[in-house]
């Protein structure tokens, strides 16, 4: 089947603007147009369908599900639901406090905080559509494992002692049950609102991601990539994680970057490590969390995640 998005990219970059298909600028622009069209079309469709099915879970509901369960069950649910909650990092503070107030162990909360930004259904469907189901499964499995064990390791350091005092004093009111409108009209309205809300939040990250991907695709020589970032380059993995820490993008925004890197022959594990590091570890998120927990815990959190991502990267580079 001819790819309509690639066709659109060809049309605009080569026919309308007249760039040559063998020039760096031409291939970069073709990639950019193709990915903007493809990713935004997919995003609108996926978010709308999820909204229609009400498959997106709010943090308030996660809190209700998880509270009062034995540790392993709570962690399983936090990781699983974290993967289904497209929550905004601006909600991390109330989320953290809400979990603490519900008596949910901090390790479980950390598991949720790791899983949530890294994996979500929207990113999962995009991953399948753009990178193929095999890589999508690898990414999701690795993300779930890191979230599960990352939380357990954090718990081992007894992070409770670093939580700011005022957090323990906040009392949370009962969430008034908002009865959702389950008629088809109500679902449609909810789904449209969800599409607008999520797109408003992430469009910029997606554009930046596609831009970076396009530049990589057009201008970085394949020879250089294979020699420096290909198989057998062990140091490339920790390098990718370190580069990813200060960088932040939404899980959706890193996908076009990964697409371009894989296309040029960067090793799979190295790409996975970079994706996870960019999506899950970020300076802005740390600054936000600093309001509820002290630096010791955050440094530890960054350390545990950084080491985990390096392990994931190396493991996948060895087995693929």
């Amino acid at each position: 089947m001819p790819d309509p998005f690639a066709w659109l990219g060809d049309l605009i970059a080569y026919s309308l603007i007249g760039l040559r298909p063998d020039s760096a600028a031409g291939t970069a622009l073709q990639f950019f147009v193709m990915d903007v069209a493809k990713i935004f079309a997919l995003l609108v469709i996926i978010i709308y369908l999820m909204g229609l099915l009400r498959a997106l879970v709010s943090p308030e509901r996660v809190r209700e599900f998880v509270r009062g369960r034995p540790d392993w069950q709570a962690r399983g649910m936090a990781v699983g639901l974290g993967a289904m909650t497209p929550f905004c990092s601006c909600s991390s503070v109330p989320l953290f406090i809400g979990f603490v107030e519900a008596g949910i162990p901090l390790g479980v909360t950390f598991s949720f905080l790791i899983a949530s930004p890294m994996i979500n259904e929207v990113a999962a469907v995009l991953l399948i559509g753009i990178l193929g189901w095999k890589l999508a499964l690898l990414y999701i499995a690795a993300g779930l494992i890191v979230a599960w064990f990352g939380g357990i390791i954090m718990q081992g350091f007894k992070p409770e002692r670093w939580v700011e005092d005022y957090v323990w004093k906040i009392h949370m009111g009962d969430a008034a049950a908002q009865r959702p409108d389950t008629s088809l009209r109500g679902r449609h309205r909810f789904a449209v609102a969800e599409v607008r809300e999520i797109l408003r939040r992430i469009w910029m990250w997606v554009f930046i991601g596609i831009g970076v991907g396009a530049l990589f695709h057009g201008f970085v020589p394949e020879q250089w990539v294979v020699e420096n970032l290909g198989d057998g380059q062990w140091l490339a993995v920790p390098g990718a994680v370190l580069v990813g820490i200060p960088l932040y993008s939404n899980a959706t925004g890193v996908i076009p970057v990964a697409e371009a890197m894989l296309g040029k022959g960067v090793a799979v594990g190295t790409v996975l490590a970079l994706m996870m590091s960019i999506a899950a570890l970020s300076v802005p998120e740390m600054l936000i969390l600093r309001k509820v927990i002290r630096w010791h815990a955050l440094a530890l959190f960054a350390g545990v995640l950084g080491v985990s991502f390096v392990m994931v990267g190396w493991t996948f580079n060895v087995i693929t």
Binding site: S58, R63, C90, P94, G98, H171, A176, Q178, A193, R200
Partner: protein, 81 residues
């Protein structure tokens, strides 16, 4: 007069939410008292985690995103039921 509160720690979406509600009230010709609640303890007191949230006459009617204009119209309308 309706008392409407927008819960949120000052993020951009909270500003937009306040604007949407003010606009709906102006269009409906209803006077409302709009207050922005930015204190985290107060926000959590309403049981809201995902901001922005909206409280009408002490009842949480919305959380986790910018509301649509249709929703805002329902809130400013006098005693809907």
């Amino acid at each position: 007069m309706k008392q409407i509160k927008v819960l949120g720690s000052g993020c951009r979406n909270c500003e937009i939410t306040a604007k949407v509600i003010n606009q709906a009230a102006a269009e409906a010709g209803v006077e409302i008292e709009l207050e922005k609640v930015t204190d985290i303890a107060a926000i959590m007191g309403y049981g809201v985690i995902s901001t922005p949230g909206v409280v009408v006459d002490g009842v949480v009617v919305h959380s986790g995103g910018v509301p649509g204009p249709a929703q805002a119209r329902d809130w400013v309308r006098e005693s809907p039921g």
